[in-house]
Amino acid sequence: MSITDIQVTDELVHDDDHHEEHHEQSFIFKYIFSTDHKTIAKQFLITGIFWAMIGGGLSIIFRLQLGFPDMDMGFLQPFLGDWISNAGKLDPEFYLAMITMHGTIMVFFVLTAGLSGTFSNYLIPLQVGARDMASGFMNLLSYWFFFLSSVIMFVSMFLSTGPASGGWTIYPPLSALPQAMSGSGMGMTLWLVSMVFFIASTLLGGINYITTVINLRTEGMTFRRMPLTIWAFFITAVLGLLSFPVLVACVLLLVFDRSFGTSFYLSEIFIGGEALPNLGGSPILFQHLFWFLGHPEVYIVILPALGITSEVISTNSRKPIFGYTAMIGSILAIAFLSFIVWAHHMFITGMNPFLGSIFMFLTLIIAIPSAVKAFNYITTLWKGNLVFTPAMLFSIGLVSFFISGGLTGLFLGNAAIDINLHDTYFVVAHFHLVMGSAAFFGLLAGVYHWFPKMFGRMMDEKLGYIHFWLTFVGVYLVFFPLHYIGIAGFPRRYYSFTNFDAFSSFVDLNSFVTVAAFITFGAQFIFLFNFFYNIFKGKKAPLNPWNSNTLEWTTPRVPEHGNWPGEIPKVYRWPYDYSKPGAKDDFIPQTVPYHQTKESNTDFENEESKKE
């Protein structure tokens, strides 16, 4: 496709079957076992949405328990069976099972697979100018390993002994000993098996993303001209590749302890009326291994969301992203530092306090690149010409959450303050804002922004606005009050607070949070309708609905396998030439050579144009 074509942005649909040698594939190979990165991305997205609804639904049930502890939950008996007693009470162990599943599902299945899986897959080839991923088959395997892992995790929820229940961090000995809780039996075994497949999926995906970004960039797409989305996905994949194998090791040793009588994590245990023979293991070893993945994991979750936000904010501010180099620098700094801060999750585990001091220093350093990112987003908005598409609103919401939740990290990263806040609702509030909600908003911003490319149709704007406002206000109403009860010392993972005088207060606040959670969750059904209805019935999308610069908008309305019908376009400039002084439009796509834009070129660019 030639360059001039793309500038006819308002042209709605034009038949794009003037490309040759396209052979029809059967349904199975086109939609199920597809090797096309676009189809695989959609598979990840829809599986992610499915999991998000399950994970969110679980949180609604346990929020009911927390907000209205006296409530008769008999109406849930048809769904939860014996986990609801005949008196209408939720089983305390199933409560723990639900929070465990909520955490596992949200962190791994929604915000890792659903977010990276969708957008890395979808955008990397389209934005670097490649026909597909480096290995389409590995990509296919990546999805199907994820699918298998999903099935196993889903099945585990229906065991009579319940799914894994020791918290998403599955600290042994609790998770190692079926005597300790029934969820540590078969449920935990399936959790571990599921995670091994999940990690295999992540690694297959990650290797592909890295290879594609390094090797398959189109002509002219230097690293300095890559959109920040690609930078974020690229570094995220590197993080995953380096940290997930450690989780395999960690999980494997746990499997040995559970099934083959080893003592990696177990020592001097007396449980269920008998002393176990295990000696010499250390539960702290598990925590070190787990958080060596676990901490990079939170950046694996948030970096792609920040990448998406960079793109969306820049496009809709009609302004270049402020500090492109600093943004890349901060991604790299965060990625590096994320590997050496893990033990800040362990200040009060009995770990040597000296180690605590070291990790406190390192942890607070990571706040600097994060702060730079936030400032740069705000400066990008400054003197822009802001267009509030739903994607833009979700991105602004993300920045707001990232700041709110990031700042509370300064409390928790400070070991002395963490003594009193560790494992309280303050922590819950902190990570749900900075990682959970922020990454979730990144995911939604991405869906609203790239839906027209994914499905060739537009989502409904008004429903998008309603969805945004209910979710945004809802999230703040849910998580902001939790800071207060966290400061008051309320421990997380409590089935009820009635046993303690110190926690007998704030009953109304807990009910309020539950109501807010209900509204927030309910608003997601608006999104579901908007999403699925418009896949089929939406208004047909223009080729470049947001007047964006990046390469994916130069493809046909519905790109076929191979993405561009003709030659892959060349890239001549960075992706953020918005509102460039002198230019006739407020955007100049990456495919426009400098010699066509004499009026807006800088001296350096005029030099460059001679080489073109």
């Binding site: 270049p320 908005l381 400054w382 609103l393 709110s404 046993n499 110190a502 704030f506 460039k580």
Partner: protein, 361 residues
């Protein structure tokens, strides 16, 4: 019947919502505003963002400064707690200012620079000076926070003073057990293999120091004297947490941990301060440990020093309460054990067991 009506009403509502949605999208198509890419409600969204900022800030400030029915700041009752509270509130002040300023900029700019027909965005790709400023200033502020936090942390986690009262706390599913060293001020050894239904803590009676150890029903600690908790667990990880003392340390099976602090307010004083005549310091489990996790409550009583000493003296050694366990004491120490534990008629028992043992030799 009611169920069916609810379902029908729900379906009707959904149908109506769908109808409204269809009508409004048809109206949009008829209006034909697709020529412009600026959302028709762009300005309205900008106003909403501004409204959110204002309402959010007012609400946040109102609820943070007394708008809630209950006070979310627990009175502090330990020496180090005053220091960590101080750090907490300084951090709160700094982050609070940053929070308010950045949110004002974020939403304020969103409102101020909303799309206008003749407005052109300012092409402003970077400014190295500005970026240096907001790298260096946070770095300095963070350095100060880290340094003060680090000093407090080192101070709190250093070795407990020589004259500390020693209390051993053991977590298990789903309760706490507590042991005091008794008159000799030394805790006896323990061994997890010695745990049984009575000897819950696995006290090892081959160690002389264990003879006078006692296991009370609640923890007593003296005001104004350092107290050291020796913490362990016997099945899964638990966490010893007491919010008023700003005290928390995990209890890990196979790896003893410790935490020392100095209580500054007796239970009576806290009752007066909180105006709650039933106030008790409660020990809380704060690491997920199974289905009874939310109910591991144990009372801590802070006494004046004299009262504490009196209470301490009045406690009976565990061995006295469970004289059967004399059989676990090595024969030659048995007499000493009876004297230390104050067991009145150890002889009969001793003779019988002595015979058995010598008989088996």
């Amino acid at each position: 019947m009611l169920d069916i009506i609810i379902i029908i009403v729900a379906i009707l509502i959904l149908v109506i919502l769908f109808a409204i949605f269809r009508v409004s999208s048809l109206v949009d198509i008829i209006k034909g505003d697709s020529s412009t890419k600026i959302p028709s409600s762009n300005g309205f969204q900008a106003n909403l963002l501004l409204l959110f900022l204002i309402v959010g800030l007012i609400g946040g400030i109102y609820y943070s400064f007394g708008g809630l029915e209950e006070d979310f700041v627990l009175p502090v009752a330990s020496k180090h707690g005053v220091i960590t509270d101080n750090l907490f509130w300084w951090t709160m002040a700094i982050t609070g200012i940053v929070f308010i300023v950045t949110q004002i900029f974020l939403f304020g700019f969103s409102w101020k620079y909303q799309h206008r027909e003749n407005q052109v965005a300012y092409f402003y790709p970077h400014n190295n000076k500005l970026e240096m400023i907001w790298t260096i200033i946070p770095a300095i502020v963070l350095a100060i926070l880290v340094f003060t936090g680090w000093k407090a942390w080192v101070d709190i986690t250093r070795e407990s003073p020589e004259d500390s009262e020693i209390v051993e706390i053991m977590g298990y599913q789903y309760a706490w057990s507590v042991r005091y060293p008794g008159a000799d001020n030394v805790l006896g050894e323990y061994d997890y293999l010695k745990i049984d239904a009575t000897n819950q803590m696995g006290i090892d009676f081959s160690d002389r120091a264990s003879f006078d150890d006692f296991i009370p029903r609640e923890i007593h600690v003296p005001k104004g004297k350092p107290v050291r908790f020796n913490i362990r667990a016997r099945d899964v990880i638990h966490s010893v947490y007491q919010p008023h003392f700003r005290l928390q340390m995990n209890a890990v099976p196979g790896m003893p941990t410790q935490f020392w602090f100095e209580p500054t307010k007796t239970t009576e004083e806290m009752r007066a301060e909180t105006k709650n005549p039933d106030f008790q310091y409660e020990l809380v489990c704060n690491k997920i440990c199974g289905q009874g996790h939310f109910a591991m409550r144990y009372i801590i009583v802070v006494d004046e020093l004299e009262d504490y000493n009196e209470w301490f003296k009045s406690q009976e050694p565990w061995l006295k309460q469970n004289a059967d366990y004399l059989t676990e004491v090595p024969t030659k120490l048995r007499e000493a054990a009876s004297i230390v534990a104050g067991i009145e008629n150890p002889l009969g028992l001793d003779v019988v067991n002595g015979l058995t043992i010598s008989g088996s030799k």
